[in-house]
């Protein structure tokens, strides 16, 4: 069993690997975590996620842009893929499954993929329909998988309007389903008017919001484990 000091060192290594978009180091660190018997959940939330939160700050400060963010996400996944099979199921109060995809007519999926990362980290069952998804498919998939949450993404004004139809159809078939919409042209007004439960209003905000949401999952984990310092 690793000492507290060694554990700290490895968590720092994972964090830095994400910040410095270093996939190899992320893999190496994750393997060391497993080999030395450190809790995989801690490695994810106190290592990889802390790194991603830092990336979110750099992104907001415009030190990092989307290319860096994508590379950091690759590093996070490199570590996550190794750690995930060893994760104990945590009860964070938010668990379940989510249907996610980019609406028909839109072939941009970067924002969607970053949001998906958040759900992957949180241990959700993610049904990723990909991009350019026919509107009916969201409804079919939600019914088939009985998912609690549906996330729709559109990058361009010219495709955003299709989301309204999906929301109407989903709510008609299953009034309890929660719907999040996001993408460059989406506004709070639109989300409210169309009956969505959550929104992220532009590319930058969608990405940093997604990262912040990972951050709040980390807080929930800390709460669940009674580890908060307060």
């Amino acid at each position: 069993m690793a000492t507290e000091e060694r554990k700290k060192e490895l968590l720092e290594k994972l964090k830095q690997a994400v910040i410095e978009y270093d996939e190899d180091t992320a893999k190496e660190g994750a393997q060391e975590v497993l080999d030395e018997g450190i809790n995989a959940n801690d490695a994810i939330f106190d290592g990889l996620v802390v790194g991603m939160q830092e990336v979110g700050k750099l992104f907001e400060a415009q030190e990092y842009f989307v290319p860096e963010l994508l590379m950091c996400a690759d590093a996070l996944y490199a570590g996550l893929d190794i750690l995930k099979p060893h994760v104990e199921q945590l009860d964070l109060g938010v668990k379940g499954s989510v249907v996610i995809g980019t609406v028909e007519g839109d072939v941009h999926d970067i924002g969607k993929n970053i949001v998906k990362m958040m759900f992957d980290v949180a241990g959700f069952e993610v049904y990723d329909l990909g991009r350019d998804v026919p509107l009916d498919q969201f409804v079919e998939e939600q019914i088939k998988t009985d998912s609690e949450l549906v996330c729709l993404s559109a990058m361009m004004t010219t495709t955003m309007v299709g989301m309204q139809k999906v929301i109407d159809n989903l709510k008609a078939k299953n009034p309890n389903v929660k719907i999040m919409i996001g993408g460059a042209p989406v506004s709070k007004d639109i989300a409210e008017k169309w009956g969505a439960d959550g929104y992220a209003d532009d590319a930058t905000n969608a990405l940093s919001d997604a990262i912040k949401m990972i951050g709040s999952l980390k807080e929930m984990k800390d709460d669940a484990e009674g580890k908060n310092k307060e």
Binding site: Q62, F65, V66, P67, E68, L70, M71, D74, E104, G105, D106, V107, H108, D109, I110, N113, D132, L135, M156, T157, T158, T159, M160, V161, G162, K165, A184, P185, S187, D189, I190, K193, D202, A203, T204
Partner: protein
């Protein structure tokens, strides 16, 4: 000619020459087809991209119905990519308004980035159709309405022919490789633009929206993209506009350095700041929100937003992106009326 009799074409021509106009021009270099126009002609949106006559007739409905100061074609962003061999989807089955997208990319992995440009590039895809459509639009416009067209910027075109994910990461990891691709694509863009010029367009917009500061750092814009934009612009003979959407305040100087006659920005640009940076002489077009204001807004909101654009100092009232076709006619009218009534 008295100033009060200015046609849209006179107005826009004089604007590009930085000469006085009777009022602030209200036009666009990006798509501005409306469902009102389509319905009047009985055309389906999915079809108008594939038929020169239908495309041209549809394009001129916006100035004819609403007094907008330009007609612009094509309506989608796939012409250049298609000529390079990408396969497009026009969603013929759909009753909704869906713009054509690329369903099959040209470059499938990093090793395929040194593409060879087909000899007969301008004879491929819809480039010949565009030549014909612009010719018809010119006739329909009858010398009263300027006919505009657009090409993509090299980075945006690269994002159409390869995975955007890969392009973005490579623009950071292997900038030289991306630079080489942008050079090849700049040649493609110039060739297509020449076809449009030959067909008689009055102005052209280079749409480099993939290079917004929401996505790419201003430094990358300057080092990786600007040199290619400059190479494209210097080949153009008609007045040119460089458009970037999203965050642009940090790159408006670089956009101007492209050599374009004007720059176009969207609602995220702080025009007052841009004016401070570029001075009063620069042509800055923008910057109302073409969906949340023009389509979803009320005539009152539109009057307010358009007045703000003019007061902030735009050289022409111009949408931040393609106009979404379902704009209510009374909203379009409110925009044009505001521009006509405005006194500088």
């Amino acid at each position: 000619m008295s100033v009060s009799e200015m046609s849209s074409k006179d107005r826009v021509t004089r604007l590009f020459k930085k000469e006085e106009t009777d009022r602030v021009p209200c036009f666009s270099g990006m798509g501005n087809v409306t469902t009102t126009g389509l319905d009047e002609l009985g055309y389906k949106f999915a079809q108008v991209h594939l038929d020169a006559k239908q495309m041209a007739e549809t394009a001129v409905t916006t100035p004819k119905l609403f007094g907008f100061d330009s007609c612009v074609l094509p309506f989608d962003l796939c012409v250049e990519a298609e000529a390079l061999g990408a396969v497009i989807n026009t969603y013929p089955h759909s009753e909704d308004l869906l713009y054509p997208t690329i369903k099959e990319k040209v470059i499938k992995n990093e090793d395929e980035m040194e593409i060879s440009v087909p000899e007969d590039l301008v004879g491929r895809g819809r480039v010949p159709l565009m030549h014909e459509a612009i010719g018809i639009a010119k006739k329909e416009a009858g010398g009263e309405i300027p006919v505009g067209s657009y090409v993509l910027g090299p980075f945006t075109l690269a994002g159409q022919i390869m995975e955007l994910n890969d392009l973005l990461k490579l623009s950071f990891k292997k900038a030289d490789k991306v630079g080489k691709l942008l050079e090849i694509l700049s040649g493609v863009i110039v060739k297509v633009a020449k076809v449009y010029e030959d067909a008689g367009i009055d102005f052209i917009t280079v749409r480099e929206m993939g290079a917004t500061s929401d996505v790419l750092s201003p430094r990358v814009f300057k080092n990786l993209i600007l040199p290619h934009l400059q190479n494209i612009i210097k080949e153009l003979n008609v007045p040119s506009v460089v458009h970037v959407c999203g965050k642009t305040n940090d790159i408006v100087g670089f956009m101007m350095e492209s050599g374009a006659d004007a720059i176009s920005v969207d609602q995220k640009n702080d025009i007052t700041e841009t004016r401070k940076k570029l001075g009063n002489d620069a042509l800055v077009f923008g910057n109302f929100d073409p969906y949340n204001v023009l389509v979803a807004g009320t005539p009152d909101l539109i009057r307010e937003a358009i007045t703000k654009c003019i007061d902030d100092g735009v050289s022409a009232v111009w949408p931040g992106c393609d106009i979404w076709p379902t704009v209510p006619p009374e909203n379009f009218k409110a925009m044009i009326d505001t521009v006509k009534e405005h006194r500088r």
